[in-house]
Homo-oligomer: 345 residues x 4
């Protein structure tokens, strides 16, 4: 009953097998390994993007920070949601990689940027003036930090406004697979067809040990990205071990299967909580993360039984509790049901 | 016959086994995994340093750049050898992590900093003046970039001068194990007993997939290092997979065994080259890397047979060739002998 | 009728005289000039701070950015008002000098930080976690960006909360003199007695060519500031010309006299606008800057007659106009009255 | 008898007059003042560069650091002489403004970069590799740090090599006027006709209070420079006071006249020292700075009489002294002769 984060799960056996398989003999370092050739080909096919430049790094922090730095000069601003992971949870890593570039926050309900708020923010930033940060990039998160999902149309509306104002666009896809299977859209529809220039394609939260891909749909800045990655300490000498994981992730659509499992567990959890007396979902549950309130007594019972998750705050004078619950590919129906039974008491 | 770099080798089976072993169930993220507790205990014991703060990162670039940044403010200078990896091969990653701190180079034969040159450099930098970079850190590399090794006494002489001038000290130990088994000294004698404050303890070149430890013998700046690591995009959520590798590396002194194998192969290679007509070692061979010259005809034969290594330059009017040859834990006596037979023709 | 900014005014004759006076002979460079000794003594006396470290720089951007960088590490956050000049109008200079440190905004009416909002923000930032920016500094602006003034008590309330949470405190005093004469408090009461650690003591907007003092009430970080100033390209070789201006500014309380003149002009303007049919002040007018609305027709007449000021926006369906009007030491009663007569029509 | 530096001198009366003249009324801030229009026109004419973008900053540190940052990305290297001011005397300001870009030093006699050494350095830096700093800019200093002067041909030889390798070029002209009048070349011949892309056109050492121009002969990066200047805290609100100084400097070729006076004093000093028993010039004296040795007894006498200059080191077993002596526009023949008389005893 571990619902604190999807990053506490292990990896599926296919990933371990791939590591064993790639281990023999010598391989050229720094991304010149033969497995990486296959990864590039596969991702280009998955995203219908034959020209895309594709790179692997080992943390989501690196994927997002390098991507934002590619799109935002030190005197620029990247616009993000008020709750965006890059704004709230990265100890200034984006600012470090941007060499002092700025994040400017834009509000919106349920973790999604509100188009009207984006319009207002863009209106305040004057590119002709040297006094304000130069508006440079828009970054969206899908699955959002509140467990909701942007549809391709919603993405396109926001990127359209950004591009009209001259901004480049980035998608933080730490939970991209969960969003994708939630909408039923194609990878291309969820990204470049909806106006996304650069994607952080998450692997870690969805079953890898520590591998994320950065996909530049327009390869014009590919060499610059390579230099930034090296300077950012994320060019791996024994790169084959990143490639092999990503290769296994794509093989036979394993990544989609893992995400479907996690989403199904979240849905099962959501249904159960809504059925509780006093249970209520705080945001729509569309992927593998839910924010819910339920009676504090249930929380006490579940915690005593070993359940792990984040409390948000007391509600309703303390009789209810707000909680964040995250499921992963390895969450079982049993875990969910046992947890719900403790909530019910 | 792959002698281009030790980073083209795979990993020993113990490392793969450890990944499989650690994979089950949930583990707390970000270094709070239970395996990391054992790694910390083991490294403290190996280094006779019960107070040391110990962190894992995934690349040598990160280990060195974060370490130098911890010791060198943006207005400071870290002194390093003219050929140091941090100076020559890191695409300004150290400067990036130091937020613009400066590397100042100090010459010396055979890859080792010359004490007289260090003294002269320290004499030129005036801490009381705001006009020059403030002398802040000394960084040594052991095994050096030319395949030689500093003894504990040689390290102590240089760190003594540095400390007398108020500098902190760092050791780039990307090939620390190779240097250690070469000297026969203890890990403590090669580091803190010789005046080293911070060690980049290499794992990757000596048999891991991509894991390095940073060891702060004085834990006073431990929290600052944690913040720098997070901001530097090297705090891993699924940290257990780094821990498990390092754990296997230390278990039963595997790391020393791997380094001995690599050094033995280099020695075998050196003996063979010296025995060649026209063969000559350009620097003493003390670890797992050698710089040698030998007849160009031998080079042509070896390359045609599939040998891979770096050419340095033509010598002796083109009839001889300078080459860099690196062995690893997985280099076999057969490979060495076959290569030598091609050189002999 | 120039009300666009106080930085479009010239300097009083005393400042020019001081430049002429200090021009003869040789003077030691870099702040070692004899005039600077007098400036230091005078500012320490004015602020009742005999231990204060005092430095001159040439722009407000430099004064604020260096001050924030002194108090906020690259992984830290400086809290500021949503409209703070450092947040809105400095093209990321604070972030540049902080090496990627972050500004986090806190709202509040009339340009002042709301204590409850500050409490909430401090509550969200957890110093024990490496995931969020570390709360490091609070910066206030007095005179605020909306022309209001913090009293010493209001400052003390905010700095008290900040200090209880371990933050250092900075005051952006680009218009410090205007705030000071507005409250009638002493310089000490408006700064260190109210919990301010570092002050940007403005000179430029109040009558100098381009000189600001940075005052560290606690001199512990004085040497670090000197290194930051040099590295920040604001250590002047011919420093005497900065010293002489600041000296003239302090001599005979010229600075207070200049500020009183500017504030009086603003008050005269405010009274006149309030008396207009349709005239209304948008924020209390407490120093030398006012935000007002008045009929658009008056705006048309005044502009046609040569008045210069910032339009904010149309109000009341376009019949009214919001405007920002700034007075300076050199604004005359005549200018104000002529402007008002155009507004009246 | 002040020969420590040219930055200890005052300014000529024309500069003070210009400040008084520009002081009346309102002027638009931030470089939009009317005097600046004239400065731009004058500098474009002086340099025969009608398209040049021209900016003023207040320190040489800013002029050089902003210029290098414009030409060198964070992963790049700017090549400079071993003794270059940017390398030795700027407390990492260039690295700060370059966001961690690197200076790589190239040796050469008499303060000039040796073409063969430049060739070797360029040969070592491989733009195709992500492992080394990317060679990006060459910066020369004229007058050099050893008081010698590059001719246009010497500049062109070095910039030609740099440009063939894809580097941009910068000239640190803190003492540009002194070099110019020494060679008799035109400003255009000394800069863009000799392959210089960006010039730091010094004013401060040659008679201004603190004003340097940055001249971009190719204006393509003009907007980027404006953003960098603002972010670098060197955009002045009361810009007219910088403009007025530069305007007076150019009016009637005052700048050339001032430089000729300084150079003449240095020549007089050089002639006198060479005529001393034991006197010797350590480098050719071509501008306003000389490095000389002379008997220590003379040094003692001169110092006792109030002369100020930098000792370099004892020579010839202590009986001789090496010294750096700098003259300025305000140095008089009397001062020189009196100093020489003390040396003679």
């Amino acid at each position: 009953m571990f619902f604190a984060s999807d990053n506490a799960s292990g990896v599926p056996p296919q990933v371990l097998d791939a590591l064993v398989r790639c281990n023999g003999g010598y391989e050229m370092p720094y991304g010149n390994d033969t497995v990486m050739d296959r990864v590039r080909a596969r991702l280009r096919e998955v995203f219908e993007a034959p020209e895309a430049a594709i790179y692997l790094v080992a943390t989501g922090t690196a994927a997002n920070s390098l991507s934002l730095a590619l799109l935002t000069p030190p005197w620029g601003a990247a616009l993000c949601h008020t709750l965006a992971h890059v704004q709230v949870d990265e100890c200034n890593a984006p600012e470090a990689f941007m060499n002092g570039g700025k994040l400017i926050t834009v509000p919106g309900d349920d973790g999604r940027i509100d188009p009207a708020a984006l319009k207002a923010t863009l209106g305040r930033l004057v590119p002709a003036s040297v006094h304000n940060a130069q508006p440079s990039a828009l970054t969206l998160t899908n699955t959002t930090e509140l467990g909701t999902v942007y549809t391709p149309d919603q993405i396109a509306e926001l990127t359209g406004m950004a591009k009209a104002a001259g901004l480049a666009t980035h998608l933080d896809g730490a939970r991209f697979a969960n969003a994708l299977v939630s909408t039923g859209a194609t990878p291309a529809e969820m990204t470049w067809k909806a106006g996304i220039d650069v994607l952080s394609f998450g692997g870690t939260k969805n079953g890898l040990m520590g591998v994320e891909a950065v996909i530049l749909f327009d390869p014009a800045k590919a060499k610059e990205f390579e230099l930034r990655r090296k300077r950012g300490a994320h060019l791996f000498s024994k790169h084959r071990y990143l490639s092999a994981q990503m290769d296994a992730y794509l093989e036979g659509d394993l990544w989609l299967d893992l995400a479907r499992r996690a989403n199904a567990s979240a849905a099962r959890l959501a249904t159960g909580i809504e059925a509780l007396p006093g249970g209520r979902l705080m945001h729509p549950v569309q992927a593998n993360m839910l924010f819910a309130e339920f009676p504090a007594a249930g929380h006490t019972r579940a915690t005593a039984a070993g359940a792990v998750f984040y409390n948000l705050r007391d509600l309703n004078g303390g009789s209810n509790l707000g909680a964040r619950l995250v499921t992963s590919w390895s969450t079982t129906a049993d875990e969910v049901d046992t947890f719900l039974s403790h909530l019910r008491g």
